[in-house]
Symmetry: D2
Subunit: 347 residues, 4 copies
Amino acid sequence: MSFSVAVAGASGYAGGELLRLLAAHPQFDIRTVTAHSTAGQPLASVQPHLRSLAHLTLTETTPENLSGHDVVFLALPHGKSGEVTAQLDENTLVVDCGADHRLTSEADWAAFYGGDYFGAWAYGVPELLVAGSKQRKHLAGVRRIAAPGCNASTVALSLAPGIAAGVIEAADIVSVLAVGPSGAGKALKTNLLAAEILGSANSYAVGGTHRHIPEIAQGLRGAGATDVSISFTPVLVPMSRGILATSTARIVPGTSADAVRAAWQNAYGDETFVQLLPAGEFPRTADVLGANTMLMGLAVDEAAGRVVVVTAVDNLAKGTAGAAIQSANIALGIEESTGLPVNGVAP
Amino acid sequence: MSFSVAVAGASGYAGGELLRLLAAHPQFDIRTVTAHSTAGQPLASVQPHLRSLAHLTLTETTPENLSGHDVVFLALPHGKSGEVTAQLDENTLVVDCGADHRLTSEADWAAFYGGDYFGAWAYGVPELLVAGSKQRKHLAGVRRIAAPGCNASTVALSLAPGIAAGVIEAADIVSVLAVGPSGAGKALKTNLLAAEILGSANSYAVGGTHRHIPEIAQGLRGAGATDVSISFTPVLVPMSRGILATSTARIVPGTSADAVRAAWQNAYGDETFVQLLPAGEFPRTADVLGANTMLMGLAVDEAAGRVVVVTAVDNLAKGTAGAAIQSANIALGIEESTGLPVNGVAP
Amino acid sequence: MSFSVAVAGASGYAGGELLRLLAAHPQFDIRTVTAHSTAGQPLASVQPHLRSLAHLTLTETTPENLSGHDVVFLALPHGKSGEVTAQLDENTLVVDCGADHRLTSEADWAAFYGGDYFGAWAYGVPELLVAGSKQRKHLAGVRRIAAPGCNASTVALSLAPGIAAGVIEAADIVSVLAVGPSGAGKALKTNLLAAEILGSANSYAVGGTHRHIPEIAQGLRGAGATDVSISFTPVLVPMSRGILATSTARIVPGTSADAVRAAWQNAYGDETFVQLLPAGEFPRTADVLGANTMLMGLAVDEAAGRVVVVTAVDNLAKGTAGAAIQSANIALGIEESTGLPVNGVAP
Amino acid sequence: MSFSVAVAGASGYAGGELLRLLAAHPQFDIRTVTAHSTAGQPLASVQPHLRSLAHLTLTETTPENLSGHDVVFLALPHGKSGEVTAQLDENTLVVDCGADHRLTSEADWAAFYGGDYFGAWAYGVPELLVAGSKQRKHLAGVRRIAAPGCNASTVALSLAPGIAAGVIEAADIVSVLAVGPSGAGKALKTNLLAAEILGSANSYAVGGTHRHIPEIAQGLRGAGATDVSISFTPVLVPMSRGILATSTARIVPGTSADAVRAAWQNAYGDETFVQLLPAGEFPRTADVLGANTMLMGLAVDEAAGRVVVVTAVDNLAKGTAGAAIQSANIALGIEESTGLPVNGVAP
């Protein structure tokens, strides 16, 4: 069976990655690609790497152009999805890669984003532990999915097993992420120019202001945390894609190192796209480039009393577009891993 | 007045940076450059960027070749300095850029390095707070100096003001550093190949095993800490030089955000080479490339109860060779900033 | 139908790329992976990005381990393939990614490589113009294939259409290539260290010494050239993969710009994996990252009397492993494009 | 003696590099820094690497703000200098880093730039061979200097010795340059975003359209060429600074390889900032990072009948700001090398 698909925001980085993955998916048929300032141009002029889609032309992002498809993926700026989705048929599967439908707390939305609040949809992170189960259970058959923030899902998946198993504390988490600039989108800002980023590292949104913080806390509360506090700092480094997240949390006193590792092994031992590496091994972001795979390495630092989880993910693939498609597969009853690469492009 | 200088380990990255900075210093006269496998070659064949030193030839690293100079800088592999320095005149100023003479605790040495313990020398971080004063006081007139580990001095300087002022706790520090591969030296290892590092980030020495941990703790104890614990994770990123350290510590309850910032401002407000940026500004490593400057940005995260200090430094310059020369200036009675660049090469 | 496959040299970069592409190929079944110094290790320890092949263990590269498969891919150092292949069954399809079987001239082999000459096999560049036809005609049904040198096939494909159509001269070609370090293999050499390559560009094999020069000339002679001379310079730049080749040749006097472009359009207009971009567009290597696609942009410089062809290719994919698999598809009667990605991973 | 200095366009990359070099110059006193959109801001907010100039504030670029200084450096967009300089005192030394005063041919200006033509000033490339002498002779005492285009001076200096000595032909030159994005300025364009450039190479201005072509030809005619034709292609690669230019020209038949090399050795053997490496050595751009040095490697390709000159330069330093200051030194009677670094920052 084949599903007709439209992608809104097809000229951006997330939109491009959605199309790259969808083009290799045997059950999705890309019919419509929409954009705003580049509407009217051939897709191949804006996304020249998408050779197999060279027959497509960008049209304007309007409800009219998006309607009539089985599935609509939205890769729009924050605050834009809500306007569009209100006019789409409720039987259409809509997957939003923006933030508009992620947060269940209107207060969090107001504090970190502001503007109209559109309400939360099913959260598109199938492997996330939720109340003793996994989030994929809540995705089957739904017609509205909020794909996660790339940093948020990375940190939540990195620590949820320890929270759920009661081996780490949710208070005083510290997470520092090395991230590539594609996560900031194709935005014309001086600090995103190549000359500013090549050969350099710099941080941003320091001190508790990053918008993914409430989303992480929400994810960890879903896994069982009652009192989450997190110091979160992203560091921009010179690689186009990728997140390497170093997340640490205090180990509950009296817990053995083996019990700590077992929590993660139990959580992800059967997963295809979230894998725990053997003790002593830690991932590189290159290992997951272009793949829908998240790799974790874990160490117990007994002197510091903390677990350290190092997680590699491709922010555009498993971090955004891959999560969106994996969730769509579940919602539509397609085998979950269909069309999603597990091997990274390295070196 | 001019001082004759020898540099041992002149073919490596730290040795090359010592020479680059010494070549621009008006009071040092580079007479001898030694190496091991490249002995006999013109310096310019091994360090082709050092055009002004093209008249020098590398000789073997032996006590004979090093003796007879006013100052000897050592940039040798860990464990090699001790053998050499035992045979140098006690009136010669010897500055060791290796780890052999940094740690005051033989137990720390045994636990993190092993092999013969050579004892600690004056620690070459002039701006470090020590018992209500600064470390530069302990460098005047000395003839043996241990230049710091680049990561260690970066983290110690990042947090010492808060420790000394009693506004942060030394327990449960978390520090994650984005570092360039030159810090690992010119070593032929697969994980240091360009194809492995370009476009990727990966961590190493995760979980409390990195050798700079006891050196950080030693520095913070000097600033007044009694009970230090630190979770320390370096992340290798694709830039040749640079460290961007994100260090967080719990704020002592009841301390105002202003009081936190004041601690750093008081500590470094008069320093040339360690500068605190205005509130809301955070440094890029490019800002200090090639310079003897350390830049810090500081945020108070009230929700997390932590201070976040983001510090940029050039691991080879202020992190190693610059610290060595700055300390040598003090020891010899030369004006401390002589010959040391304060402006970085950006973009 | 499924073919059993062995890959020799599976721990290197070319071997890893063969495995990445083969793992996604519906008709190849990877049974055996061999190496030398890493024999005995799990493949996932050496190639951690190949998650779907985590069940495989590296064995020693011996004729015994390689025999008994339908297809054997060799990714061995130059000079090693000949020894191995002499002991493989003549009905086994053997595809050599090394240089041993590329050159038809023993004199060229002696001049540029030296050592035993093993004779030439069918050249694995299906789209190359050969005597009014394409090379794929010579690949059907063969059992010995020499995959091309990445630089050589890039330049040959860049200029063959103009040679074959008689619109450019084969004398006085100039080609300068920006190349990533993965093309040099996973070799422990100082000049391939990350600190040496990050933030820098440098050339090598300057002045007519590069080993791919005779292979380019051979390819162009196949397309009809009688008197080839080429100035060829590779420039190492800080990207892990990719070749951007700028190739220029004198236009035959009296030829119109339209006639020049038509030669390339006629040659590649129907090809899937070698594509000419519209006038005024030029490719980025990111557009073909991980793909079996070669993209060309072409300009006619009337003032200089030269055509300029800018070609982007992934040295490990279309440049090596992709060409090998595409050629194997043809040899085995599988549809030529099977299992080969056409879209690049960008940005 | 000290000269008061103003820098216009101080917020850009060339302006920043002028300031970095001027700050280390013992005879220049930076009084005024001007900009347009950032006027009113502290210089350190826009150029945070210039710590020693943190006391300066940007003012608007107007003739009033620039007048009253001994020296004015202009780093303005093309077409803007002419308006400003008409209002500056004729005894003020004005050094323009833009293109407005480089070309001696109004027809060339019209063909490649367009708009008002302002006439040519003394060309700021002291080492360039001009009619049997060097260009520095024409810089002594002048009050108007046109600093060169970075690509143009690199190629002209690369080939002028062979032209002047009559050992190479000026017809059919081919030059391909690997360049970093800082050469394009701090411009908000999609193709200059970090995500577009990291991990990728791409060319621009292909086929004879680059604006530096007439400037190269003008330089080579000055060295004695009568009939110049050049195929010129820049390739953008992922390094913030640097040009690695590969320039080839046909050797005049009958010329020995030794005679070719001798031409360059004779031209540059006594120069500080333009150096020919020994036979068999070729430069890296890292070797000249931040320095006022141009390094050349030269090979004679007898099979191709061409000389290949590989030249490394820092586009912002020797390519622009360094050349401007070196030329100003000459004009003012200061020792030519004053304040200019010769050693690069590597690795």
